[in-house]
């Protein structure tokens, strides 16, 4: 019916559009979006309002509606508060370092210097390598008898880096900065290529030095890229799991590197409190989106 009237060019066709075949092409993707994106999103919110826990397969269990109780509980949970503080510490170290280092490296790459392709490749390699693989080598570097303790000698912290309550989180922040930096370098490189060369030439004629040109032309010129970098780095921080799980032995020592996603795993999947874990996910997602909105507002106001 629909096809027939569409061919006739009736009102239905006007409403559907020129190519009803589009529905057949997009159909599988819409199914994917609906089943593995939209529905889980609604399910996450639904679960977070229930005392939803996993029972043995086949067992009928009562999962009462509890309203906002899960939310009230997590906000009062000292482990969750600690995890949020840890993410804050991560972001405070990772974001400024990421912005500064990637912009400096991108500017250096943007100058016509020899071996640019080699340098660009070397910065990108950690980004394409599995976290699990690079964690292997950082574990070794920071281990008790590892190379870094050899280099630092008596200055090395005791207890050693990864089991030290003060150092665990900063090291995670540094390792993640190292791993992700290449991606941000390329983002900035693209942004730099949009800054007209004449601006630099004019500033040079006016006698502005390298630092001055960097601060007055480069930094403002890449501001939209900076917004994107800050938002993406914040999302990475909120999603931390593999590093605290493997590098610091499950968020240790004593919760000093516990992350919200690791807590979701412990609570939701290991202990079966899915409602509680879903509420953590919702709070975290809301926080990330709020931080992104604030970043966008602060960095893009002019």
């Amino acid at each position: 019916m629909a096809v027939v009237s569409a061919r006739r060019g009736g009102r239905l066709r006007t409403w559907i559009g020129r190519d009803p075949i589009g529905y057949a092409f997009i159909g599988p993707y819409v199914l994917f979006l609906a089943g593995l994106f939209a529905y889980p999103l609604l399910l996450a919110i639904y679960i977070s309002f229930f005392d939803y826990f996993f029972a043995a397969p086949g067992a009928e269990v009562d999962r009462p509606f509890v309203g906002l109780r899960n939310y009230a509980q997590i906000l009062g949970d000292p482990v969750f508060q600690r995890a949020l503080l840890n993410v804050a510490e991560f972001i405070i170290i990772n974001v400024p370092l990421t912005v500064a280092l990637s912009l400096v490296l991108a500017s250096a790459l943007n100058a016509r210097l020899p071996f640019r392709a080699f340098f660009r490749t070397s910065y990108y390699i950690p980004y394409v390598t599995a976290s699990v693989a690079v964690i292997g080598v950082w574990l070794w570097l920071f281990s008790g008898g590892g190379l870094l303790n050899g280099v630092f000698g008596p200055l090395a912290p005791n207890p050693s880096w990864l089991v030290n309550e003060f150092w665990a989180m900063p090291i995670i922040a540094l390792v993640v900065t190292w791993k992700q930096l290449g991606f941000y370098v390329l983002l900035y490189l693209a942004a730099l290529q949009n800054i007209p060369k004449e601006l630099y030439e004019a500033a040079e004629v006016d006698g502005a030095g390298v630092v001055r040109r960097f601060m007055t032309i480069t930094v403002p010129g890449v501001r939209p890229a900076t917004t994107l970098v800050v938002i993406l780095a914040t999302i990475v921080g909120a999603n931390l799991f593999t590093e605290p799980y493997l590098l610091t032995g499950g968020g240790g020592p004593d919760g000093a590197s516990m992350s919200p996603v690791l807590l979701m795993y412990r609570q939701g999947i290991e202990q079966g409190h899915a409602g509680y874990a879903a509420a953590i996910g919702a709070v975290l997602a809301i926080a990330v989106m709020a931080i992104s909105a604030v970043n966008r507002f602060v960095l893009e106001r002019e």
């Binding site: 020129r18 190519d19 075949i21 092409f25 997009i26 993707y29 994917f32 979006l33 593995l36 994106f37 889980p40 999103l41 399910l43 250096a108 100058a111 210097l113 070397s122 910065y123 990108y124 390699i125 950690p126 394409v128 390598t129 699990v132 693989a133 690079v134 292997g136 080598v137 950082w138 574990l139 070794w140 590892g146 190379l147 303790n149 050899g150 390329l186 900035y188 693209a190 601006l199 004019a202 040079e204 006016d206 030095g209 390298v210 040109r213 032309i217 403002p220 010129g221 994107l228 909120a238 799991f241 493997l246 032995g249 919200p260 979701m264 939701g268 999947i269 899915a274 996910g281 975290l284």
Partner: protein, 298 residues
């Protein structure tokens, strides 16, 4: 928008030598920065390979310059005894291959429809796709676990691993952007000749889209190949685990009891890292293009 930088235009003859000295100083500083950066980024990889080849762990500074007599492949044999490398590599390959296939078929159809076909609801689908790119994964961890493991009983299965990653949103975005650039007349004339949309896609769009397809598939490849959290959540059976999961389990449980734990961990890390690094180095032009593309978009 940029702050004006002085306005001393009076003495170009004085400014010129100053600026050329400034440039060469800047070039040296730039090169120093680049070299330092390369050292920081590459040293851990060098050290990973060195550690994987050392018989006895040498953690002092001299260990960075290995003694040839201390080199061995024994660590690869060790890790293979703990983690079946062939089996787990095959699992990583099936997981990654499934995602690539689904992204290619479903994503290409979707990208073509989003760019070249006109139908109601198209922009809604496009906006949903963009939303995926910004919403953090942790929001989906618990409901996906409930659905895939509890509702559909797909734990310890390749399908369960693949489904949440099946169609990479970045790849759909790349396909759409590519098809948007193609002139409409190209497709219109084929339509007038009576070709079906599917024919047009297969005979005209896909051959033209080859560069975009390569870029999209390479960007997609590193996701599932490196993914740890999701397959870790849903695979308990060892013979179904991808290498990243098996190696992580080895690091967190078994390694403490091994004679040269770092040697075998690093041997496993090398095996996990090499395919992705090789794919990247071979296809880096495509990688970098897509990254530059996302920068322009932002």
């Amino acid at each position: 928008m940029t702050t004006p930088v002085g306005s001393d235009r009076g003495s170009p003859r004085v400014a010129a030598p100053q600026s050329s000295r400034g440039v060469s100083w800047g070039r040296v500083a730039g090169l120093v920065v680049l070299v330092l950066g390369a050292l920081v980024f590459l040293f851990p990889f060098y050290y990973m390979v060195v550690g994987a080849l050392q018989r006895a762990p040498q953690t002092d500074i001299s260990g960075a310059f290995p003694n040839p007599a201390n080199l061995t492949l024994a660590n690869f044999v060790d890790i293979n005894a703990q983690v079946d490398l062939v089996r787990t590599l095959i699992n990583s390959g099936i997981f990654t291959g499934g995602v690539l296939l689904a992204t290619f078929v479903i994503g290409l159809l979707a990208g073509y429809a989003l760019a070249q076909l006109e139908f109601r609801g198209r922009s809604l689908v496009f906006n949903l796709m963009l939303l995926i790119l910004v919403l953090p994964f942790q929001l989906f961890m618990i409901p996906l676990y409930v659905l895939i493991v509890r509702t559909y009983g797909l734990s310890d299965s390749y399908l369960g691993m693949i489904l949440p990653f099946a169609v990479n949103a970045t790849a759909v975005f790349i396909f759409r952007q590519f098809f948007l650039q193609l002139p409409r007349e190209l497709f219109e004339s084929a339509r007038i000749d009576g070709a079906s949309e599917f024919m047009i896609l297969r005979r005209i769009a896909v051959p033209l889209a080859q560069p975009a397809i390569i870029t999209a598939l390479i960007v997609t490849f590193i996701g599932p190949w490196n993914e740890f959290l999701w397959p870790f959540l849903i695979t308990k059976q060892h013979d179904l685990q991808p290498l990243a999961v098996a190696l992580a389990n080895y690091i967190s449980t078994v390694a403490a009891r091994a004679a040269n734990p770092f040697g075998s961990i690093l041997a496993g890390a090398v095996v996990l890292a090499v395919p992705a690094v090789v794919v990247f180095v071979v296809f880096q032009r495509q990688f970098i293009q897509s990254n530059l593309g996302s920068g322009v978009k932002g």
